[in-house]
Symmetry: C2
Subunit: 321 residues, 2 copies
């Protein structure tokens, strides 16, 4: 099958140490001494997680990046990945080359390599699954369960941009400024997982999660797993210039941003004694970090206004955007 | 989404050590000291690798077993797996329960557990990919590249049964004996990977491969990877009672069996000094093992008749069956 021969040719240069040149149906991994492995696996389907006319480079990058974001939230450093790809037999060779180029570009950017996988034919939508493997010092993996009362809650970057970008793809008129609009759209199209920042969080972050479902939803997962309540301050939420412009134009409300997904920022909690460490890490990695709240005994995520009264987040939720 | 809640409920009991109860989007693996990890990943697609009306238990089992066979060929012991599953939203709850039951049954049988994964919606065919992780003593993984001139070539079990079973599903009249026919069909439907046998091969097997594409094709992969020639004797090939009956009835030719896939037996090579070890291992594991040829300098796979003249295997190949 010519298409499979082409894929083999395109994928072989992506193979890293242990991949046995992709010739052996298996990879060998000698775990670095003193390290645990963190494993995560996300799948994406054409028409569900990406559009048929998305550039193949970008699909390959998004596939890597959603998984890299999961590793970052665990405090893990990317090591390698396995890829299962279901292609249609009529998939264009140019498309395949673009896909491989996207894989190659992000491999180099994030410092990991292809370990192995499988390529199969499908009569249906293109479907990819990636198994990501990262390393973290033994016993130091950051879990969702570790938040304790008294912790600060931090978030990297800005919130809601990807969701606004998706909305702008459908209705560009909601943000007339073309440059700001493009920035938001790129936040949706090319996630920037906090890989090197996340890999340095272990040791002082008590709990972490990446923002894929939306800040409130993902913070809710962390609160539930840790058995604590999170008090988050609306005024402390980091908002980009583009999001600010949309809020100014009446195209979005601040609290709505917290329901929007796909930002791939990190939410994490630390003891207040770690504030200087967090600040230094952000400065060294060039990652903006905002303190957005605190952890207390209880349950759930509570969004507070300036006067510390609780905002009914459900009433301004995702479904209203 | 109710279907996803059901899947979560069904999959959670499958989670093993390190899976964090499937609640954390990642698994943690502390590699056993002195062990390498062997990783392999196979995907299956409805309508391509299984039929829409196959029982879901059997699909789940086949998904595990094709991957377990890859681990066995590496001399690795199964440790755990990650599963990506793309379901249609209208997938029947009974189907999902059957699928989970199949996973559970084979987990218990083969002594490994679910580590994590992802469940997504698809508008297309059901698509599954499994990343299998096994352990082998450090540096002892059996590769395809290790065969050396002078080695014996062995194969486990019998050859060609699964392919004959597939043919019998389409045309049962080719084997009138119902019991023998059923045995061959089951060989196709429920592969029996040589897991415990394979896990004891390291240390004396020089090279191994599992028979998924067909004995000649897979032996060819081994020969090519090792840079050697394999001389295989047609008369030494292990043939089941069912296959023998089909040959007797003129429904199959002996050499055709060597082109048929999906047997999931192991082909491996060892120094002649290891013959007693191979025999003992087969006896202890209850696995029939046949010596079917030898390795010599050169290239390719050569099938020899009783008088050691070479049989033109291409002329009686798969496409003629």
């Amino acid at each position: 099958m010519d298409e499979f021969a082409l894929i083999e040719k395109l994928f072989r240069p992506l193979a890293g140490p242990g991949a046995l040149d992709l010739k052996d149906d298996a990879a060998i991994l000698t775990p670095p001494p003193g390290m645990d492995l963190v494993l995560t696996k996300d799948a994406i389907v054409e028409g569900v997680h990406f559009r048929a006319d998305d550039p193949p480079q970008r699909i390959a990058q998004k596939l890597q990046r959603v998984n890299l974001s999961d590793l970052a939230a665990k405090g893990a450093k990317p090591l390698g990945y396995l890829l299962a790809a279901a292609f249609r037999k009529d998939t264009d060779p140019d498309w395949l080359e673009g896909f491989a180029a996207g894989l190659a570009e992000d491999q180099a950017r994030f410092g990991w390599t292809l370990l192995g996988g499988d390529t199969v034919a499908t009569p249906g939508p293109l479907t990819f699954s990636l198994t990501a493997i990262g390393t973290v010092a033994s016993g130091k993996t950051i879990l969702r369960t570790g938040a304790v009362a008294g912790d600060d809650v931090f978030v990297t970057g800005t919130i809601g941009d990807a969701g606004l970008g998706l909305a702008l793809l459908a209705d560009p008129a909601r943000l007339p400024d073309a440059a700001l609009r493009q920035t938001l759209i790129e936040r949706y199209q090319v996630p920037q997982p906090r890989v090197s920042f996340g890999a340095r969080l272990h040791g002082f972050a008590h709990a972490a999660v990446d923002v894929s479902d939306g800040l409130l939803a993902d913070a809710g997962h962390l609160a539930k797993a840790s058995g604590v309540a999170l008090d988050l301050e609306l005024a402390a939420m980091p908002v980009s210039d583009g999001a600010r412009a949309m809020i100014g134009a009446g195209s979005a409300q601040p609290a709505q941003l917290l329901w929007l997904g796909d930002d791939y920022e990190l939410v994490f909690t630390c003891a207040p004694s770690s504030r200087a460490k967090v600040e230094r890490l952000g400065a060294e990695e060039g990652v903006p970090v905002s303190r957005i709240g605190t952890v207390r005994a209880g349950g759930g995520v509570h969004l507070l206004s300036d006067d510390r009264s609780e905002i009914d987040v459900e009433s301004i939720g995702y479904t209203h955007f």
